[in-house]
């Protein structure tokens, strides 16, 4: 990616669905990630051709759309000099008024430009449009499992009395490096994901007054094992932290460092539905920070300190995180 692409990607991508339609978004959101498989094209004259393929889905437009890229043959399985047979993208936008999906497919390679409506049908998805000749074209997702699905296109020239299959894809979810953590013991993998709700790019405000306190960015790094926080306060204060589930000690840990020389080391874990971390500074002051996921997708962070060993606590900071 060039530097131009970075600001484009930052503006395009979201890490999850928009809060006001999260459930509905999962119809296509379930496919977010990378898929590999085969595509078979059936021509009207009975000929058929097969190819490898790869498909990539991502959240887009502040979580109100899903965009994907369909590529055939797979880029890593091509012969020298073999070109693209398909390299297209779909934008899928959920329409809450109509409870259906507006779908636009564009493939410059095959010069395909299709617009259609998508709906959940049973456990699958059916998309439909009529082409210029009035043929009903139907694209559907069937046999949807967590790690595999089947996609088929077919057409009817006699108002659905008969159908001709035009192509089908069989796809399996690609194993990513991040998946390693999921194959560890169940106890560990649940713990490893326990702080994922804090990932994102955030605007942080005072929960009482609404005053802007700063901007935060929390990224999953090192194969999904570590969360990296970058804080930029409206007052100019800047700091960063690494957060990790320490499997040797079976607890969550945060190391916070800042531009005024603060080092804060906190340990803890999930308590009462919040990430709850605590530590003692060299001067004996105890610090306790809690991150509580909110029902709207935000996060409330509360930082309390006690200088008498934990009898009296005073709030140091409270910030409400909203996704940018």
């Amino acid at each position: 990616m060039g530097s131009d692409s970075l600001s484009y990607i930052d503006a395009l991508c979201a890490i999850g669905p928009a809060g006001d339609r999260a459930g509905k978004m999962m119809l296509y959101g379930q496919f977010v990630g990378a898929w590999d498989g085969t595509v078979t094209v059936y021509r009207a004259n009975g000929e058929q051709s097969q190819s490898t393929c790869e498909v990539h889905f991502g959240w887009a437009l502040a979580g109100r759309a899903i965009q994907d890229v369909w590529i055939a043959p797979s880029r890593h399985e091509r012969a020298a000099g073999e070109g693209d047979r398909m390299y297209g993208t779909t934008l899928r936008m959920y329409d809450p008024q109509r409870d259906e999906w507006q779908i636009v497919w564009t493939d410059p390679v095959r010069q395909a430009f299709n617009q259609m409506i998508g709906r959940k049908v049973g456990n699958g998805i059916v998309q439909e449009y009529r082409d210029g000749e009035g043929t009903i074209c139907q694209w559907s997702f069937t046999d949807i499992e967590a790690d595999s699905f089947h996609w088929m296109s077919r057409e009817s020239t006699d108002e659905r009395k008969s159908w001709r299959i035009t192509s089908e894809f069989h796809l399996k979810r690609r194993k990513r490096p991040e998946d390693r953590v999921d194959t560890e013991t169940d106890a560990n993998s649940a713990q490893l994901r326990a702080f994922d709700f804090w990932q994102g790019t955030w605007r942080v405000t005072d929960p009482g007054t609404g005053k802007e306190l700063g901007l935060s960015r929390v990224d999953s790094i090192l194969g999904g094992r570590v969360l990296h926080e970058q804080w930029s306060g409206a007052d100019g204060y800047r700091g960063e932290s690494f957060n990790i589930f320490n499997k040797d000690r079976q607890c969550w840990h945060q190391s916070w460092v800042s531009d005024n020389g603060t080092l804060l080391l906190l340990d803890g874990g999930v308590k009462d539905g919040a990430m709850d971390l605590e530590g003692t500074a060299p001067d004996g002051e105890r610090h306790r920070i809690r991150w509580t996921p909110q029902t709207d997708g935000g996060v409330l962070q509360e930082w309390d300190a006690s200088s008498d060993g934990g009898q009296k606590w005073q709030q140091r900071f409270a910030g409400l995180y909203r996704r940018r």
């Binding site: 990616m1 060039g2 131009d4 692409s5 600001s7 484009y8 990607i9 930052d10 503006a11 395009l12 991508c13 979201a14 890490i15 999850g16 977010v32 990630g33 990378a34 790869e54 990539h56 889905f57 991502g58 959240w59 887009a60 437009l61 502040a62 109100r64 759309a65 965009q67 994907d68 890229v69 590529i71 693209d84 390299y87 297209g88 993208t89 934008l91 936008m93 959920y94 329409d95 008024q97 507006q102 636009v104 564009t106 493939d107 410059p108 390679v109 010069q111 430009f113 617009q115 690609r174 990513r176 994922d196 990932q199 605007r203 405000t205 802007e212 999953s220 999904g224 909203r322 940018r324």
Partner: protein, 177 residues
């Protein structure tokens, strides 16, 4: 949930596809980031000014161009977004070899009535586009003036109860520092 690496690696492209000639590459000027001053004109004559942002990249092996078109800017959205006409939108532009023109698809889930499909052709020093909003209202968009670091854009529509084209959006874009 994270942003899937495969998706952001497969979609953007650093350069134009050799399949597109210089003459065909009429939207190449948009690549990069822009600060926008948007002016919205309502049918009743009200004028609203909002700051926005636009980020464009080549995509699909450099055969198409996609942009993100956002106003209010993300930095301003904490203060709230307008009840009508919010834009957190994307445009896909692809050259149609049969039409010898660009297909422009504008998708705005934040306010779907502003979504549109148009056909674009170069015209003088600028670009002219014709098409329809998602509800069927005819629209014409134009970049009448394009410079290296600035552009002007106007959008007009023809409501069914009107005989005259009505200006509804104007943009003044400046390349971001």
């Amino acid at each position: 949930m994270t942003i899937p690496h495969g998706f952001i690696e497969a979609l953007p492209s650093p350069q134009r596809s050799p399949a597109l000639s210089d003459e065909e590459d009429i939207f190449g000027f948009l690549i990069g980031s822009w600060d926008l001053d948007a002016v919205l004109y309502s049918a009743s004559g009200e004028i609203q000014k909002i700051r926005g942002e636009l980020h464009a990249s080549r995509v699909l092996e450099g055969r198409a161009i996609q942009d993100l078109f956002i106003f209010p800017r993300r930095a301003d959205r904490a203060a709230g977004v307008p009840e009508h006409g919010d834009r957190y939108a994307t445009t896909i532009r692809t050259f149609d070899r049969a039409l010898k023109a660009w297909r422009v698809t504008f998708i705005n889930p934040a306010a779907d009535e502003t979504s549109a499909q148009l056909i674009a052709r170069d015209e003088g020093n600028g670009i002219a586009m014709e098409g329809k909003l998602s509800g069927g209202t005819p629209v014409r968009w134009a970049y009448p003036a394009i410079a290296a670091d600035a552009f002007h854009y106007i959008a007009e529509k023809l409501e069914s109860d009107s005989k005259a084209w009505q200006l509804y959006l104007e943009l003044f874009g400046k390349r971001s520092a």
